[in-house]
Structures are given as C-alpha cells and as structure tokens.
Symmetry: C2
Subunit: 231 residues, 2 copies
Amino acid sequence: MSNTQKIKVAVDAIVFGYESNQLFVLLIKQKYGKFKGQWVLPGGFVLNNEGLTNAVNRELKEEAGIEVNYLEQLYTFGDDTKRDPRGHTISVAYFALVNPENLNLIPDTDASDAKWFPIDEIEKLPFDHNKIIDKALERLKAKLHYQPIGFDLLNKEFPFSDLEQLYMCILEKKFDRRNFRKKILSLGFLNESNKIQKKGSGRPAKLFSFDRKNYKAMEKQRFHFEIKFVK
Amino acid sequence: MSNTQKIKVAVDAIVFGYESNQLFVLLIKQKYGKFKGQWVLPGGFVLNNEGLTNAVNRELKEEAGIEVNYLEQLYTFGDDTKRDPRGHTISVAYFALVNPENLNLIPDTDASDAKWFPIDEIEKLPFDHNKIIDKALERLKAKLHYQPIGFDLLNKEFPFSDLEQLYMCILEKKFDRRNFRKKILSLGFLNESNKIQKKGSGRPAKLFSFDRKNYKAMEKQRFHFEIKFVK
DNA sequence: TCAAAAGTGTTTCGCCTACACCCATGT
DNA sequence: ACATGGGTGTAGGCGAAACACTTTTGA
C-alpha cells in the first residue's frame, strides 16, 4: 500500500506585508504548467529528505528572494483530492510576516515575477488559493489579539501611531487611541527610544521598539498577552 | 521533480475520552513492522484519491471501530525527515473527542488491540507520538477556554458537576463552583432538562444539555465564548 | 494662524473574584 | 443522625470603556 502511494506533498506560503496603512499579500506569477502566467501563492513541491519548514524557506528564497520575519504552519489542505489538476496533492500552508525593511523582491527561477497585492484587490486565484488566503487572514486577525505579532509587520523602531493604525487597518475597526496606548504601554514590553520621527506636518513622534527578550521572559512567568476591542 | 517525489503521507489521530474524572487517549497495538506489539496512535497512510479527513475517519473505524464526536486538524509533522524509520513520511495529525456513549472499542484489521490510556500513564511511544500527544493536550486545554468543546466529552445530558469536574481535571486547576456555574449559565446555551440524576448518596442533580443550535446562532451574532480562571 | 498629527487623565461600568451556608437524598 | 454531593447570593476590586483638550511641528 504505502509503496504505491501517489500523493504529492507541496508547501504554500501566505506572506503578509504592511505599509502605509495597507495589508499586502505576496503572489508570484506561475512560470510553468496549466496556470502559467497566473498569479498564485509562492510554494512548490517538497524535495525528498527536505523538512517542511525548509521547503517553505527555500521556495520563498527561490521565487521571491525574500526572507521572512515570522513563519508558522497554518493548515494542511488535503480534503479535496482534486484541488490540484496535476493530480492528488496535499499542500501544507504556512503563514508568514515580513517587515517593511524586507519588502524587496528578487524574482528568480520559478517565477517570472513576484509582487505584493493589497489584500482587498486579490482576484480569483487558481487552486484553492483564495481559501488559503482567507484562512491566513483569519489567523492574522485572531493572533493580533493574543500574540504580539503586529510588531513583525513594522519597522524595528516605529511611532506609536503606526501600531495603532496597523491594528485598526487589519481588524477593520476603530477604537480609542488613548485606551489602546494605555493598554499596550502597561504591558511593559515596549522600549521608548529617545529618537524622534518627523513626518511632514504634525507633531513629531517618539519611536518605540518591541522588547522581544523581555516579552519572552514575561511569557515564561505566566504573563498572557491579550488585547480586546469592542467598539 | 514532482514525479520522483518519494514522500509518504500519513494521518494520525489523538482521540481524547473522559470518564469518571480521568482523561484518556486512545492507542492501538501495532500489528506489523518494526514497532509490532507497541502501542501507537491510531493512523496510517492515506490512500490515493482519499481526502485527509476521510483517511482519519477510515483509520479510526478500521483500527478501533470508533466514531468520533469532534474532529479537527491539529498539526502536520514533517520537519524531521527521519521521524519515521520506514522513510520520509509526513503525518497530518488530527485532534478528536468522543463522549462516553462512544467509548466502546471494536478492534479490527490493523490493530491486535485498541485501548484507552489515562493521559498521565502514557509511556514513551514510537515515532514522535509523545510530542504529538503533548501538542494535542495543549490544544485541548486552550480550547476549553475559548470554545464549548468540553460538551463533546460528556454525555448529552449531564449534571452540572460533571462539567465542573471536567474543567478542573483537564486544566489541573481548582476554582470556585459558584462562579463557574454562574458564568456558564449566564452564557445562555445550556438547556435545563427537568430530569434528575441520582447517584449514590447526596442530593440528586438536575441534568443539563448543550444547545448547539442556539450556540451556533449566538456565535454568528458576534458572541464569543470565553472562560477565564485565575485561582 | 491654521492644519495635522502626537500626547495625555479621569470617571463610569461591568465582570471577575472571594467567600459559606442550606438542601435533598441514601445509609 | 450523619455523610455525601447539589444548589445558591453578595460585596469589593480591577480593568475596560467612554470621553476632549493641549502640544508640537510644517505650511
């Protein structure tokens, strides 16, 4: 039985990027096959004796010349045996975040192009890739509430308003700036630098950075990140 | 490349059962191969043109004659290419719950035996099965807080104290009965039947049941299940 | 001096927590 | 009568929500 199994194993990555109040997803233009020329999620078949995480990182490098900031397994799609017209293929989807410094794309072997698409301008994609993106977005929204994951989408040093806007943009909600700031600062893992960022008109902003070491330490001491919103 | 891929795809299931204040995991005795005679998680290779969920349900039926009450994908293990000595194999692990009415096991083809093991009496298992169980237990504990998943481990009708004890047993915490009851009842998805259960000595208990329809309806209206505990 | 964005404090309200005694049944 | 488990109310504290004006800069 096992020696006649003809199921192929692929990985796909949903990479989110954020800039100037917009959430982006990375897509690549398919170079070969039935969907040649169409935009799809980066990914591909896993190599023999290659671990899944390695496969994702390899594909991201090959197809878009990108290194991600955060990577976690999302879901394995394999209930529909005809999801890939090339034959029975399961796809282990990964969820990734890059910060603006890593937004540069260097298309390479497998893609004639790689490009960031605003999340709300993504059309119908081949395979079940729209479903995969939906699931990833759901995960991103959920995690913003209970993991300090937003920082992986921002520069190392950022004005507080960037964080505010990121939350409001991705969650599509408005909330009170004062309460949000109070809450985040009270958690005690933001370092206030003495740098200041000027940005056109308006009062210049202090820059903050996420203290990951401190956060990890707090996490071990039964601290739980959590942010709620109602309005 | 894709036509020379030699990676095998398996599914494994972590099935939890609960009875008289103990949490159990279903294991089966391996019938063939290197680990013959050892206890392992139920599971096996996926068939050609078989969906993943179908594969799990099939294996559970074949190996233990069981139908589960709740099933969700847990995680796909595939970073270690040598996790299975038979060759590069990835395993899509599923998380399942059965209620006491379905605790009966009918061992069949692939297992010379199937048995419930108390979670704290599980020894070292082959493959990475201990790691898989740990991850499943973590998921179970987490979900008890934010999904009404405990009901899938109880009878349809249950005295309130069963629910209480289930939470305390699985989370390994003690908490105030009055507060717990108040909280759960205030959520408004328990139906109080007029039946009463007598159980040895002590005052007989009203029986409750989980109103799944009502819960689903509430969920659609932005209601979120959540239970916190401190002490 | 006006526009634009940053920064800040207090009151109110609801929920979680802590806590102990009575009730119904079997023996 | 006693042992066993079921059932119940209230007061206090803490954190979330609501809410608007001042500050600093560029134009």
